[in-house]
Each structure stands twice: as C-alpha cells, then as structure tokens.
Symmetry: D2
Subunit: 311 residues, 4 copies
Amino acid sequence: MHLPVPLRGVVPPLCTPLTGTGEVDARSLAALVEHLLGAGVHAVFALGTSGEAAQLTDRWRTAALRTVVEAVAGRVPVLAGVIDMTTERVLDQARAAAAAGADALVATAPFFTGTHPAEDAGHFRRIRHAVDLPLFAYDNPGTVHTRLAAGTLLDLAAEGTLAGLKDTTGDLGGLRRLLLGLRARGLQDAFTVLTGSELTVDAALLAGAHGVVPGLGNVDPAGYVRLYAHARAGRWAQAAAEQDRLAGLFALVEAAGTDGASWTSAALGGYKAALHALGVIACPATSAPLQPLSEAAVARVRKLLAEAGLT
Amino acid sequence: MHLPVPLRGVVPPLCTPLTGTGEVDARSLAALVEHLLGAGVHAVFALGTSGEAAQLTDRWRTAALRTVVEAVAGRVPVLAGVIDMTTERVLDQARAAAAAGADALVATAPFFTGTHPAEDAGHFRRIRHAVDLPLFAYDNPGTVHTRLAAGTLLDLAAEGTLAGLKDTTGDLGGLRRLLLGLRARGLQDAFTVLTGSELTVDAALLAGAHGVVPGLGNVDPAGYVRLYAHARAGRWAQAAAEQDRLAGLFALVEAAGTDGASWTSAALGGYKAALHALGVIACPATSAPLQPLSEAAVARVRKLLAEAGLT
Amino acid sequence: MHLPVPLRGVVPPLCTPLTGTGEVDARSLAALVEHLLGAGVHAVFALGTSGEAAQLTDRWRTAALRTVVEAVAGRVPVLAGVIDMTTERVLDQARAAAAAGADALVATAPFFTGTHPAEDAGHFRRIRHAVDLPLFAYDNPGTVHTRLAAGTLLDLAAEGTLAGLKDTTGDLGGLRRLLLGLRARGLQDAFTVLTGSELTVDAALLAGAHGVVPGLGNVDPAGYVRLYAHARAGRWAQAAAEQDRLAGLFALVEAAGTDGASWTSAALGGYKAALHALGVIACPATSAPLQPLSEAAVARVRKLLAEAGLT
Amino acid sequence: MHLPVPLRGVVPPLCTPLTGTGEVDARSLAALVEHLLGAGVHAVFALGTSGEAAQLTDRWRTAALRTVVEAVAGRVPVLAGVIDMTTERVLDQARAAAAAGADALVATAPFFTGTHPAEDAGHFRRIRHAVDLPLFAYDNPGTVHTRLAAGTLLDLAAEGTLAGLKDTTGDLGGLRRLLLGLRARGLQDAFTVLTGSELTVDAALLAGAHGVVPGLGNVDPAGYVRLYAHARAGRWAQAAAEQDRLAGLFALVEAAGTDGASWTSAALGGYKAALHALGVIACPATSAPLQPLSEAAVARVRKLLAEAGLT
C-alpha cells in the first residue's frame, strides 16, 4: 500500500500477543488489529519496542509481521520495525520485512556499538539504498543510547533518504526546533514527524507534528483518535482534556512497579494485562527476560481501565 | 511584597550584568529590570542559573539581589535563587536573600553529594522552617544531576513546605503527570507550577502550568508576555506561532558553538550579547570560567535579533 | 575441547578479518589464529566486541566461528560470543555457536531493553539450561548500558549457572571485591575471572584474576603472554614494565581520532590496521557502520608499532 | 610547611567530627589528627569530600581547617580542599584556606555549570595565579560530573600550574596512561599523582602513582601505611594481601544501605560510626542532608571493624 506523504494521525505500535508457550498468537494479533482499525487509527507499526521486537526471534518477527499484513489487508499502511545492532544486520531485517509485505521500514541508529553522526547517516543511506521502501528513523535514546543529531535528520530528510521520524526522545523543545528546521527547508509536508510520547500528543500536534505512535494506543485507540481529531480541528482545550484522561490511564505502565522487575516488564506487561482484561487478546504473557505481572498489579490495571471509562 | 497564589505569568530569570572589571553593574541591572517590567512581566527571578548565580561570589550575589529589589520597588514579586551545595550552605544563602528583600526563595536539591528522595524532602523542610518566605523547588537535573521525585514534590506541596516548582527537566510528560497529581489532591490553585523550558511554553500552559521562567525572556520579554496572553485567552494557534518565533530566536544560545567553550558560555554569553546589542546593558561580559563570545558569534546574535523583529 | 577450571592466561578476543567486498576472510582469520597460538595464548574468544560480532550478520558469525574452530583444531579452547538483545535471540545464537563447535559461550545481559537483576539472572539461567556448554557472563556497561550486580554474579557462580566472567567494566575496585566474594564462598578456583581491560592486567592479576581478554592482544599476543608469565611468577616490576609498554601501544586505538568517526571505528580499525601492517591479515576493512582509517591514521599506527618494537 | 616534590605516601582525607548540635568538634578533630599521625601518615587532606566540605558552611570550613593546622603543628603537610562551584567562588575559598594555614590547595573543575577543557584550564590558572600555594586538581566525576582531560592535566603540569592530581575517577587504565604521559615529558618526579580509590592502591602504586588519599584511611591509617610500605619495598604480594584486608573493611561504607538514604550518607556515616566505635571521635553525627545510621547499621560497622582486626 502506498504511504501518504506526510503520514498523519494515530499509528499504534502493535503489541505482539503470545501464547502460554511463547509462540506468536496470530489469532489475538489479528483481533488486536481489528480493535485498532475499528477505532479509526490511521496506520499501524509492527515490530516496535511495544511489540517486543527486541524480545522476538527472527522467526517470530516474521510470523508477527505476516499476520499483521494479512489482518490489515491494505486498509491502512503497515510500518515495520527493523531493529538490530548495526547496518548489515538491519539489512537482513529490512529484507525480511519487505518480503513479509511491510509498506515502510522503521530503523534506529546502530546500537551496542557507539556511533558518530556521520556513521548514523551512512547507516540510513545504506538501508534506504538496499531496500526500496520508505524509511523512518526511530530516535529512541532510552534504548539506543545515542540520539540522532538534528542536522543529520534534516540532511537525510532533504536528500530523500528518510521519509519521516518517530521521535521518542521526550524532548518536545527539540522536536519543535526540528519542525522549524523542516519548515525553513520547505519540507514540512514532505517529511513525516511522529511523536512517540504518549503524554504530550496535544503539545506535539500544536507544534506541528503530523501524528503519534502511542504504545498506550493499543489499549485505548479511540482515545488517541479523538485527541487527534480535536487537535486537527483546533479544539485544543478538548484535546488537552482527552490527553489528561489518557495520561491518567498511562499509570498502567507502572502498575507492576520496579521492585522485582524492569520498567520494560512493567510497561509491556501493563499493556498486555489491559488488552487481556479488555478481552482483546487471549493471554497476557510477555517474552523473556520480561517477567509476568503479579495478581495485585493486574488488579491495579483493571482499576485504571475502569477509571478511564474503558470497562 | 506578598506573592500571589498561584503565581501566574512570565517570570524571567534575570541576567546579572557585569562591568568590564567583573563587578556587578548595578545601573545595567536596573535597566534590565525596567526592560522586563516595561514589557509586562509578572514577577522576576534573581540569582538563577541565567543570572550566573553559580559564578557569582556571595558578595556579588547580595549586591545583585539588593539592586533588583530596589529597582523593582514592589511593582512585582522578586524571587531569589539560593543555589548552594547542601542544606546548611543553602540556609546561609537563604538568610542573606531574605535580608536583601526577596519575596520568595528558589532552592535546588543538594548537589555535588548524591541524595535520596528522603534527604531532598528533609532539605526543603529545613529551609522552609528556618526562613519564613515562600519556597520554590528548582528541578534542574542538567546542573544538579538528580531529579526531584514526583511523590516528594506532591508531599511537600500538600504539607505546605513548597509553594511551587520551577521545572527545568524538559520532561513535559512528567510535568503533565505532576499537574494531574496536584489536581487529584485539590492543590491546582495552591501550588505554583512554572516551566523553565523556553521552547514549550504553549504546551506547558495547555497542560495547566501557571507560568514560565524563560532565560530568553531577558531578551524578548514582550514575546513571552504575548505568548502567555494568547494562551490564557485560549488562542492556542497564535500562542504556538509566537512560540515558534521565540524558538527561532532561541538559536542565539548556540551562536558561539561549543568548539572552544562550554554550552553555558554560549548560552549566557548569547543572552548578554543580545542585551548589549539591544542597548539594555553596558557590557556583555560574563564571569569566569565562562568565556566571551567571538565577534563572529556576536554578529550571529545580531542577525537573529533582526530576524525575530527585535532590532 | 574441555575447558580448564579455572581458565587461566591470555584469551584474545579475535578480530574478524574481512575481504574488500565485506565477506569474512577465512584465510586471514586462520592466519590470525596462528599468530596468536604461535605466541602462546591460552585460549581464544571469537565473536566478541573486538570481533565485530555486533557488525556481523548471523551468516558471517557462523562462518567466522567455524573458521576459528577449524584453525584452532583443538589446540586451545574456543570461547564464542553469543551477542544479542534478549534471551530467545541469544538462545538462537547459542545453538548456532554450539553447532559450530564452540567450547564455551559468552553472553551479555539483555540490552536495548532495560533489565532488573532478577531478569539478568533468569536470562543466564535459561541460556545455561538450554545449551550444554560452560557459560561466561560478559559485563560490558559501555555497550550493554547496564552493569551486572555483584550479588547476581556470586549467586550464579555458586549455583553453577556461570563458569566465569569477562569483566570489561574498567572498575578494578569492583573486580577485587568480586574476587573477595568468590574467595569467601570457596569459589576462587571454581569460577574464572577474566579482565577485559588491556591497561591494567598486572593489577587485575595481582588482585587475583585468572586471566585477560585483551583486544590489543590481537596485535601483540606475545606481550600479553610475557606479562602474564611475569605475573604468575611474582615478577611484578617486570609485569608492570611490560604493561607500560603495552599501554603505550594501546594508543593505536586512538590513531584515527573521533572527529569524523566513532570510538569504535577508531579502535577496531586501529587493531585491523596494525594486523595489516604486521602482515597478518590481507585487508584492514571493517564492517558498516564502521568507517575506514585515513592514511594519516594508518601512518600513526605504523609508528606506534615501531615504537613498541613490533616492526 | 614546604610540600615535598613529589608528595609520596598516605594522605587521608580527614573526616570532620561534629557535635550533637552540628558544630565542628575541635577536640575530636584534633584526636583524629593524632590517630592518623600516630599511624605514620605522610600528610593530611582537610575539607575534602570525606570531610563533608560540601556540607559545611564557610564558617565551619574555616574552623575545621584552623583546628587541623593547629593540631598537625607542622609535623606533616596539610592540604586543603577549596570546593565550590566556579572560579571566583573557589578563589574566596582559596584565600580563606591560605589564611588558615594550608600548605597546598585542592580544587575541582567548576561544577553545576558545564565546562569545556579550555575553561577548566583557565580555572586552574586563575586559582594558581591568585593564591601562592601549590595547587592540586581533584578529578572526581562522581560529584563534579565532568572529567578532567588528560591533555589538559599534562599541559597544566608542564607549565607548573598544577603541582599534582588527586584522581578519584576509578579509571586505573587512564591513570596509567597519565603516568606514562608524565614520564614522556620528564615530569614523573615533578608532578604528584595520588589515587583516591581505596580498593586499588596496590595497583596504582605498581603503575607508578606516588600515594593515596583514602577515605577509609581515617578508620585504618596503619593499614594503608603498611600497604604503602610494602609497595615501596616491592613486596607486592604482601601489599595485595593488605589491600584485600582493607577491601573487606571497606564494606562499612555500605553498612547503612541505600534504602532510605543516599550512598553519601552511608559512606560518610560509616566512617564516622567506625571512628566513634574506635573511640577516636565523640559523636558520629553527620551534617544535613546526610542521615544518621540506624542501630543495625552501626552494629554491622562494629562487626566489620572486628573482622578487620581493629577492635
């Protein structure tokens, strides 16, 4: 499917439901796709951080992406993460994602190894050159441990290497300056800027971002679609009120706490516990090394869903 | 002067003009106060990071604060930074600021030494107990290297230890969650939340913050006053446009680059070069170890002022 | 081949020579193995950071490891890195390494995703349970961005999950405390501790470490073998003198500087430039996103080799 | 008193005993001086991190330093910390320390504000120029949050600005390379290098450092004096054994844990609890925001003293 330029709206990073024995649960994944498309999302992003791409083997990644492509069936674009350490490994992921039917690719800078901005630029150029799909940069210093330089992004946008950016830096001031830089180059309608920060979508849209990739959008896609619609229509007070409601719901990523498990376990487990409680997926399991939520944490998730009006 | 509760509006962190021989330039400082009050700012904040509090000796700090109090002459509240490493040292600063006529104090968590949230809480309680002035917490992990925990802030707000917060974390999502926490406790009109992020003021106000402490407000106070007025009136598109203009002007903090000097030299030197170019202060000098801007950097500052319509 | 317990001595992390077209250069890799074994190293470690494991595709990793196993031909043990983001992906790597003939596995904590010590422990337990080879933990916070907790390591040592540790933390004080902890549990001869810090091998051996995994040992294996022999014999002044000479040679990792490339490019490129200059490998190429050394940098490498008495 | 060049041996960073009401306890401080000098230390360092310099007001700092100078009475050199945020503030501290009788000054790079190496160099030059006492750089990235560049240190050593370095980076490899750099410039006997890492003194001395500034040396000065003597005599195995014993004792800095207090509270409180248990000081109190040790923590400290043979 052809990707709109720019891509606007709500693009949830799909969770990847698993069975109790750790396989990709294709039926639940297809149900999740319907949950999102039924709420009116504008595209989906498979194999991102929320999709446990880091935890899935290559075989599972391909299985998940094929399931998503089939379930979406061309109704909206499917972006696919190609998360791996360095260029040649990402190329292997990119070829697999293209073969599985992705409409666009989303790649981080190299990680594990440190990089220089010139190496980041070369990395994206090689990927774009080798696989003929629109390419998004995924700027996520919380996992990648480097941040993409604004100058590098503007250059790669101007030359056509990158089609867009998923910004998960949490730095809205930097995002605004990037948007100004794009405008100064006349690229504001040619390069897609999506925020990955669930709690400041109103602010990012007010600053000119085109859309949002909210992990929490797995759980409450309709909320993000409403928020986006308010913002597009200039109803900023309503947008902020919807954002506030979603910010309250976001507490489900902390329901498990971090006393005996990582923040990642708490967050991804919180999303899956909520999807399970909502009846969307069959099993809330996450993949190793992530740890399951306790019953008390699941109860807190259910309470938050009720407070947000979702049950 | 009695501090409004909450304190709303634009509260610039005053630069501290120096003479060529490194003394506080009282005449220029008084002129800067008029520059700001003439533009309609709602309060001023002396001895903050932008005021080179970290670079000024105790004697200079007192001289600067006395000059500000005298120049303001009760027209707006004067907040004073009491920046030092640990509790007893901050108390010395706090007593001096109270004696110099400050209307409220602004303190960071302890730094140099690591702290625990319980120690941060004790720190603020001791300061509030020892000096009878409203106390603001200054959350600035870029300089203090710890971040105030949201739970600590909510507790200190609820018990009345803290009157407000200057948030310079850059984390607008966290700020929104704090504002929701205050609302859940009925404290939204009892505890002042000011953002210290120059580039996302529209967003912070949309999320419910009461005001802003913009270093860039030294240079363009009228711009921030307009931005604030748009936001208060619900004219969010105009607020964002004004914010965009100010974000363009903000490039003056980078005019010097960081090839031979620190980011601090570039930023504080950029503000002072602009104030000097605007004719507000007599000399753009900063204090050691900060380094002066090159002529080329000053020229870039002048160009940015012109582009922003200030000259 | 059975792994000695503890494994003592010099265990270089093999570079992976590439051809000009980016394939693994099996002939050069075999020559490198001879270069090291001829110098008397006690084991080799394939597919570590110095071996560009992060840059190699799965196909290349397997090709490199098979070449090493074949070239070593049972003369010393072959440890193999199984570097990937999370547990199931590491298991895929571990099965491939076992099939290729590795004598032991070396795994990091999960990365990209944050982890909790309990998750780290579960990670290593699952790997050890699934693949029946001695397992070393690779503690390298510079790339993995978490550090293994001492308590976790001691528990995993005591229960037999881990056979040893490659410590690349640079924290010799922590290493000493770990060694004391092992001694307190009677594990000092049951659990192998190898330092990955090229510049403090004398110190680590003095503190009780069993050996060293020096990237620089690709270039000067005889130097590290001499250093180890001095230390084992209690000739500490000679050990320190040899270490000083090697510390001078270590400057080759900085020959390229970091103006236009990453530290990783400079370091791995420096090793390969040296091996090329010494005639051990046919081509100094590294894999994307790493960048080649300039001619000037290569000249500096040659100068350092001469100063260290290697040419 | 004239400072030896280089300064060799054990230079404990003196704790600052306080009374129950928070004043400097001059009698206990003098007793601590005798405890150290009686054990044969080669100099003392007042107003360092272990001395709670960050927690003491200017008045207390001066009181403490005067007490130390008087108690030492010229028997060994007295180094004095001049810890403050930036150059002019450090100059105020430096003048006060000189007036109080310090034999040498110890200054960090500027903190709170970020710095550039050129600014660090200017900082030290201004201090050295303004106050005519030998000047040591105190490289402590754990508190200062920048690290002094090796090139800067070598330049400042060569030009005579700095007389020496207290290295608390924990990076023994970097220390070795600095020592090699000094040797290459013929400065190995002209510039003093002291390690601040309690657990790797044998290693630092083996690499050529001149001495050590061990916080733990407040508690067991005789142990460090023995360790130093072994090292000077080339008895490296005995040095390592003594170091191992001291590394065991070092656990007293963790006796309090970090569940309800900072690592700083635990460490400085641990030293003082030990000195109190040994009968050297009258009261184990530390200064705000540091928190007192629990009874259980004090009991653990006493147990560690017994295990180390000190009671």
